[in-house]
């Protein structure tokens, strides 16, 4: 399969249509049956989706946030007669590698969490207008929206047919959201999740599977009314000017992908990648109006888009890469203050823009923690892990800080670490790091007023608990080399499992449950003979053969 290109734009969408009318947007799904990423390999019937379809959805959500800030309600609906969406395409899944399936699910999960993030952070609410049956991933998409309206034609239902038909799970957040978001009784959820045909009409409302139903003849009015009510509940931002998310540009020669502010370079072994961010020489504008005017060229926004693209590229196109070495190159003083411009007052007319950039950065950082690769932050000569980039370092599995008096390295503590970029467990990275002793968090944050703009040298960083290891110049090369070589030798599965268990201590949230518990179980099932064996349910689906299960519980 050709490398997946994650860039798209509304004028190139094949499966979605984004219409904006005043403060209401409508996202209409009409999947092109033979428009799948693998061409004719599978047919995307009944609005079923593959990664290509979801790349467009993710793009549309980003564009809503940046290009259409005046939109207060977004209607997500189906463009086919009596069909909303049938979920992920089964033939696509059953003919995909395990790694692809896992990363496909991760991507779609991030898109749906992204919808919820937009709702929580961006003055926009989402209405799932289910014009027909929403099954599996189709209903999961609806569950990511704030409200769900289902057509009542005595036929259309919401359903999770995964277990009864496929022997797998509604693994795109579905099982988590019915109990943890919509708070439906677990016994009813159990019944619902084993009912291939799903539940329709009044009972769907009674069980809180949907918020409301509307008959066909009143459908358009009901959708418009619901959307209007959602919009009117939010601040009026009419007149707000969006920015254009111009195409993300890079050059890629196979060994390295070069963006404007960063580079992803793959070592010859194919196993190790270097992700290097190059800071501008000066922090640039501290004026929100100027940042807004720069739009997609505002360097922090550009960098977020680059990081997002690089991480997707790593996950889907570079499966052999197991270790990513992260560096931020430049002046630590520039790094330390570079996101101050994002902290505008809510009353600032450009607040919406700086707010969006901040949330994008938050999502990019989370994306690192949700990537099944090892990450080392290498703070060696010339690096500048300060301000938001200290968060980048803390998002990595380990932090190596060079302690060399000849070539002093500084980390920097800023407001970025005090709550601007929470992890998916709801905590800051510092709070997550120092669960045993919150006073250590205070000690680190106190550095903000140390008279040096929050900059701390290697020794101080080590004392504050910010360095996994702070070798001096004599030990550095060997220690880092050993750590890299050792990491490459371990079982990649074991590493992924270990990292995913260590990265999210502390409380559970909807997100951690989706990316941790639900995903882990789904990935386990995806590997089991009962799903993917010769007579596994996923393999047999759509073929003349019935699945044969090994009924032993594990």
């Amino acid at each position: 399969m050709a490398p997946v290109d994650f860039r798209t734009a509304p004028d190139r969408y094949r499966h979605w249509k984004l219409d904006v009318d005043g403060d209401i947007a409508t996202l209409t799904m009409s999947v092109e049956p033979f428009g799948g990423l693998r061409g004719d390999d599978y047919e995307l019937k009944l609005n079923s989706y593959d990664l290509g379809v979801d790349i467009e959805l993710a793009d549309a959500i980003d564009r809503l946030r940046f290009e259409h800030p005046a939109v207060r309600a977004c209607v997500v609906t189906g463009g086919l007669d009596r069909v909303f969406c049938a979920g992920a395409n089964i033939n696509m899944l059953s003919t995909s590698s395990h790694a692809f399936k896992v990363n496909f699910c991760k991507y779609t999960n991030e898109t749906r969490v992204g919808i919820e993030d937009a709702s929580a952070s961006s003055n926009v609410r989402f209405l799932a207008a289910l014009n027909g049956t929403a099954s599996g991933g189709g209903y999961e998409l609806a569950l990511a929206c704030d409200r769900i309206l289902l057509v009542d034609d005595r036929n259309s239902a919401v359903s999770f047919p995964e277990l009864p038909l496929l022997g797998v799970l509604p693994g795109t957040g579905g099982l988590t959201r019915i109990v943890d978001k919509r708070l439906i009784r677990p016994d009813l959820c159990d019944l619902f999740s084993t009912l291939a045909e799903g539940i329709k009409g009044k009972r769907a409302v009674q069980w809180n599977l949907v918020d409301a139903i509307a008959p066909l003849s009143k459908w358009d009015d009901a959708v418009a009314g619901e959307a209007r009510a959602l919009a009117d509940g939010l601040e009026d931002r009419s007149g707000t000017q969006g920015i254009a998310l111009t195409p993300l540009e890079y050059t890629d020669d196979g060994a390295s992908r070069s963006y404007r502010h960063s580079e992803l370079r793959i070592e010859d072994s194919g196993r190790v990648a270097h992700l290097t961010i190059t800071l501008p020489a000066e922090a640039g504008t501290q004026d929100a109006a100027a940042a807004h005017a720069a739009g997609a060229d505002f360097w922090l926004l550009a960098l977020c888009r680059e990081l997002d693209n690089a991480l997707n590229h790593l996950r889907l196109n570079l499966p052999a890469v197991g270790l990513v070495l992260v560096r931020v190159v430049g002046d630590a003083k520039v790094a330390a203050t570079c996101d101050d411009v994002l902290r505008t007052e809510a009353s600032d007319p450009h607040h919406w823009f700086t707010n969006e950039v901040g949330h994008y950065l938050k999502r990019a950082l989370k994306k690192i923690e949700n990537t099944a690769k090892s990450f080392y932050a290498l703070a060696d000569e010339g690096t500048a892990f300060a301000g938001p980039f200290l968060e980048l370092a803390l998002a990595c599995d380990r932090q190596y800080v060079l302690n060399d008096s000849e070539a002093p390295v500084h980390l920097g503590v800023g407001d970025a670490s005090a709550g601007a970029y929470p992890m998916s467990n709801g905590l800051t990275r510092l709070a997550t790091r120092f669960l045993a002793d919150p006073s250590q968090v205070d000690a680190v944050l106190a550095a903000r007023t140390n008279g040096a703009g929050g900059l701390v040298d290697a020794e101080e960083a080590d004392e504050l608990g910010l360095a996994t290891s702070a070798p001096d110049e004599i030990d550095w090369d060997d220690e880092v080399r050993l750590a890299i070589e050792e990491r490459q030798a371990y079982s990649p599965d074991g590493l992924t499992g270990m990292e995913q268990n260590l990265r999210f201590p502390g409380p559970e949230t909807l997100e951690t449950k989706i990316f941790g518990r639900l995903t882990a179980w789904q990935n386990w099932i995806f590997q089991r003979p009962n799903a993917v064996g010769e007579r596994g349910a996923l393999k047999c689906y759509g073929t003349p053969q019935a699945p044969e299960f090994n009924y032993d519980r594990t």
């Binding site: 034609d153 005595r154 036929n155 045909e197 008959p215 066909l216 003349p544």
Partner: protein, 468 residues
């Protein structure tokens, strides 16, 4: 409503009088059913005596008991054909096993879906045809219409029996919803689109009974093979009635053709004489045949494969097949690829809809041949034909493409230019409707249709089939 004298009120051979649970369910459902009939059936004729056939038992003489009856008093019975001794499941992965007398848990959803989809078509046609009585071309035809209507009603009963008896609470809810959906209703339409198409005049009705009821026949044939024994036996009995509906369509369209031939033979213009011209007859054949061809579903279907392998829905006349497992071999399906036709090999089980459609199309062709023999007798040179299966399709691999009635792929421009020559237009429909003057004197017949060859149950030409 008081308790029901079951053997009288609901003729049955399912021991209704000793099944309390079923009684309770049917007692609750029957008033809603009668209400539905009064609102959505041939409303204006509820008070008239109609010479109807009622099934009172499954004995050879029991399924065709003729008498005058007011339609709301029709005894909608519940009959299963007798169990065959030593029957086994005839196809799929359970081939050779004992048929199920209860719904197997693992197939509950699929079975219910099959039953509900079939059941939903039965009341739909009654709704589609509810006003046709007013424009009947004769009492004979009016009586046939009502016979078809009450039997579709009985088929609904038969399916509701299955839902009530075997599917518990869910089944009862589905049975209720069968009466809540209705044909063409903007809010709660019938499940399959053909059953939401308006049936505006008698030519459509006759084509409907020819082509759409024939879909019903083949669906029933395939369900009559089911490993779920009560469903199989119910469907077998329904088939005896369905045969009459096709008789109505086949002879009815034949009589329309005959009348047109009479006018043509005299060298007169059909329109001037107030009969249906050949091109309009052909267009209605094209429309109803293609719309009904959609009812068999997608050519390549996981559901069809599942239903077959699970032993729930077989092929028509499964016993005449040699390979009842169908795990090997392929169906060669012509598909559109890159703007031209090419063949795709589909695993046989996944092609079961198409296998059934093949049998249906062959059966339709026999009807077409019969009509052409009518024309041949007049020594005229026009012929009617069955449109190609790819013509005017909205479901399956040909949907979204345009084909002419011969099955040639054509572009949008050709389709737009020619479709009014292939499918009925508003003008065609208006013309046919203009012919629909009621003719309700015993023994009289409307000008646009020839009289029947013989009466119902051997009755004379001027028998008063409906007392108006």
């Amino acid at each position: 409503m008081g308790s029901i004298d079951y053997s009288q009120r609901i003729p049955n051979n399912v021991d209704l009088k000793s099944d309390k649970r079923l009684q309770r369910a049917l007692e609750a459902w029957q008033p809603a059913y009668l209400e539905w009939w009064k609102e959505s059936g041939p409303t204006d004729f509820n008070e008239n005596d109609v010479y109807l056939r009622t099934a009172v038992s499954v004995e050879p003489d029991g399924w065709a008991h003729y008498d005058y009856v007011k339609m709301p008093d029709y005894r909608w019975g519940i009959f299963l054909t007798d169990k065959g001794a030593g029957d086994t499941i005839g196809f799929g992965d359970h081939f050779g096993e004992e048929p199920w007398q209860q719904v197997p848990g693992e197939y509950r959803n699929w079975l219910r879906r099959l039953v509900v989809t079939q059941a939903d078509t039965e009341p739909a046609s009654v709704e589609q045809q509810r006003l046709l009585g007013h424009t009947a071309p004769s009492l004979y035809d009016m009586r046939n219409l009502f016979q078809v209507n009450v039997e579709e009603g009985r088929h609904l009963w038969a399916m509701v029996y299955i839902l009530h008896r075997y599917f518990g609470k869910d089944g009862r809810e589905e049975a209720d919803e069968l009466l809540e959906r209705s044909s063409g209703n903007p809010d709660h339409p019938r499940i399959l689109q053909t059953f939401n198409e308006p049936c505006e005049h008698w030519l459509s009705f006759l084509c409907f009974t020819m082509f759409t009821d024939r879909d019903g026949k083949f669906q029933l044939l395939s369900l009559a093979e089911s490993g779920f024994d009560p469903l199989a036996r119910t469907c077998k009995f329904m088939l005896t009635e369905e045969a009459h509906h096709m008789f109505v369509g086949q002879t009815g369209v034949g009589r329309v053709i005959q009348r047109t031939c009479e006018v043509l033979k005299e060298g007169k213009d059909p329109r001037a004489e107030g009969v249906v011209p050949p091109d309009i007859i052909q267009k209605y054949i094209n429309f109803w045949a293609s719309s009904s061809t959609d009812l068999f579903g997608s050519e390549i279907s996981s559901n069809a494969s599942n239903f077959f392998r699970a032993g729930l829905k077989g092929r028509a006349f499964e016993s005449k097949q040699t390979d009842h497992l169908a795990t090997e071999g392929h169906y060669v399906l012509p598909i559109v690829e890159g703007g031209r036709m090419s063949n795709q090999e589909v695993p046989m089980r996944n092609a079961m809809n198409e296998v059934l459609r093949d049998a249906y199309i062959a059966d339709n062709q026999k009807g077409i041949d019969y009509w052409n023999r009518v024309i041949e007798k007049f020594d005229l040179d026009w012929r009617v034909s069955l449109p190609h299966r790819a013509f005017n399709r909205n479901v399956g691999v040909y949907a979204g493409f345009h084909f002419d009635p011969e099955g040639n792929l054509v572009d949008d421009a050709t389709w737009n230019a020619k479709s009014s020559e292939w499918l009925p237009t508003r003008e065609d429909s208006d013309y046919v409707k203009s012919l629909m003057k009621p003719c309700l004197e015993p023994g009289k017949i409307a000008n646009w249709i020839a009289p029947p060859a013989k009466g119902i149950n051997g009755q004379s030409e001027d028998y008063e089939y409906v007392k108006l």
